[in-house]
Amino acid sequence: METHIKEQDNRVVDVKNLFISFRTFKGYTKVLNGVNLHVRRKEKIAIVGETGCGKTTTVYAIAQILAKQARVDGGEIFFKGRDSLRMNEKELKQLRASGISVIFQDPIASLNPVFTIGDQMAEVIRYSGIEGARDPRVQRERTVAALRETSLPDPERLMENYPFQLSGGMRQRICIAMSLATPRDLVIADEPTTNLDVTIQDQVLKILRQRVEEKQSALILITHSLGVAREVADRIYVMYAGNMVETAGAEELFRECLHPYSRGLMSCIPKLSGGGIASGIPGHLPSYYAPPPGCRFEPRCPHAMPRCKQAMPPMYEAAPGHCVACYLYERGTSA
């Protein structure tokens, strides 16, 4: 245990071999299939994958806000060296108050519709455990400061507004302001720009990145767009059907991506140099009720081999810091 904590010194979050399933009307869906992931201090990572691949489940598990139907079948989630799956109420409270904050995909639904922005932000600050958190003046100052830092105009007036009076982009910026109104070790942003106008997506991402850097938090960004991931993250995880299939530094991944699925994703990015509409990846996500026993990408994989059907390939380190879960790279990157 001790060695473990030491070894993970710089890791804010360390997910080890996480299995999660959901109860549905047909039985259990095995959504996470042994996920490994870590985030270091002040590091910004992105998880990229299709809708339904388990990105959100992974981060909800980290933030300890999984739905009731979810069941953790195995694995560990270390937050600053402590297993958050085995935390008691008090530790969880601490984790929530100052450890992790979450920005959700839908800025319309992630603010309470019947309370003003000011009330909601004050409440978050109140339970953040910072000095003077119970003092309404401190709450107000912090709120105004947080709104201003997110370059929202006229914070005082904004605080009196209800969410439905604001645009989607403004609401998402308020969510960012809320998540960073007090110091946090980790910010999780679950597709924060998906529901926004294309024209303001960039702006919101820029603010998110800037704020996370200023506050020296770590960031997990979930997105289905490699482009967005590259813009924000230092390191990228590619996720497919409940598995991390590849991880590498952002630039490294764009220089050379290895896993057949990542390659497919990469070719989906339209290029200015032409070449027509992206080809996409044929097939679709496997059924989670009865997933293939081996590599879950095998049915769609252009390079599938017989052994891919038998067992899930482990992670191979193809280059320093560049890992890929594919038998093609068993003996290095020469494939």
Partner: protein
């Protein structure tokens, strides 16, 4: 906002007018000769004829309606065949008792409905939720009169701790009428023993009457809170470490109040229906008992008067509910001003 409420008021006034036509037609369809009924079988034909003329029963239906409506607007609802008194006086006497009963029932409905609903949400899918669910089924599957009978049995024979009949005990002088609500009137007089006595008489019928409503309110409260619990903002609030109880009672309850209030308000309005039997069983001198007696004795003018009063109460209630909801929900409050 004010314009909106005014518009509502106007449309409710129209409904009220429609109600008066409806009630009028309904009682006119009643078989039997009202004038003959009023005077008894042995009255001479000329007297009956004279009364018919006086009540405008010899005119065409629209003319009759005109006279009837004119009378109502002047505060004259006709004379009761049974009590032989002006119906206006009867209503003035019986209505406050029913209002007092309904108010206490409404208070029970709202408080217990919310308490049980929130508790069921908090422990959803656990044993307190199951117990509350069973309780609420009991309230829904049995009509008020069954609970009235059961309560009578319980409190009259088995554990006689509560009175089961009337408004006040025999030998206690009724209060000087100011509001007509006995508890309030006693309190205004400073007669606490009297107020306590009136309250004791009121508790049992009020519980019986509100039981079904409590069940409905608790269910709707739980249902809408549970569905709000799945919204991202609830997850966000939890993720920010806001205490569970505060999330429940503040951040989940308030957005859920809309549906709770509309259902509870409907139940409170519907409670006047159940009151017809509960008041009769508990021998409680309220308007609903009066109305039921009138129906059973085909006292047409009294029936139509009571129905109109009930309609006015329900419509007034709807209006108040609309206003409360629009004040609670900023989305409605600001929708016309911004």
């Amino acid at each position: 906002m004010i314009l909106k409420i005014l518009k509502r008021v106007v449309s409710y006034l129209l409904v009220l007018l429609g109600l008066s036509v409806f009630v009028f037609i309904l009682v006119r369809v009643m078989p039997g000769d009202t004038a003959r009924l009023a005077l008894g079988p042995r009255a001479p034909e000329e007297t009956v004829q004279a009364l018919r003329r006086e009540m405008h029963l010899d005119k065409s239906i629209p003319v009759q309606y005109y006279y009837w409506l004119k009378g109502i607007l002047q505060g004259d609802l006709g004379t009761s065949v049974i009590s032989k008194r002006p119906i206006t006086e009867d209503i003035a006497f019986y209505l406050p008792a029913t209002v007092e009963l309904a108010l206490l029932s409404a208070i029970f409905m709202a408080t217990f409905g919310i308490l049980l609903g929130v508790t069921a949400t908090k422990y959803s899918e656990k044993w307190p939720d199951a117990i509350i669910r069973v309780l609420s089924y009991l309230g829904i599957v049995a009509p008020a009169f069954l609970w009235a009978v059961l309560a009578m049995l319980l409190f009259a024979y088995l554990i006689p701790i509560l009175p089961v009949s009337g408004r006040i005990s025999a030998g206690i002088a009724p209060p000087v009428t100011r509001t007509g609500l006995y508890i309030v009137d006693y309190l205004l007089q400073g007669n606490f023993a009297g107020a306590w006595d009136a309250f004791r008489h009121l508790v049992m019928p009020a519980i019986v009457l509100s039981f079904g409503g409590i069940s409905q309110s608790a269910r709707i409260c739980r249902a809408s809170m549970v569905s709000n619990m799945e919204k991202p903002y609830a997850a966000a609030e939890r993720a920010y470490g806001i205490p569970e109880n505060k999330i429940l009672y503040k951040y989940l309850l308030k957005p859920s109040l809309n549906s709770f209030i509309s259902v509870t308000a409907l139940d409170i309005a519907m409670l006047f229906g159940g009151a017809y039997l509960v008041e009769s069983i508990f021998n409680y001198p309220g308007l609903s008992r009066y109305g039921l007696t009138a129906m059973l004795n085909k006292d047409v003018f009294a029936v139509s008067a009571v129905m109109l009063v009930d309609g006015v109460i329900v419509i007034g209630f709807n209006l108040v509910t609309d206003i409360i909801i629009s004040f609670l929900d900023p989305r409605i409050r600001y929708s016309s001003s911004t």
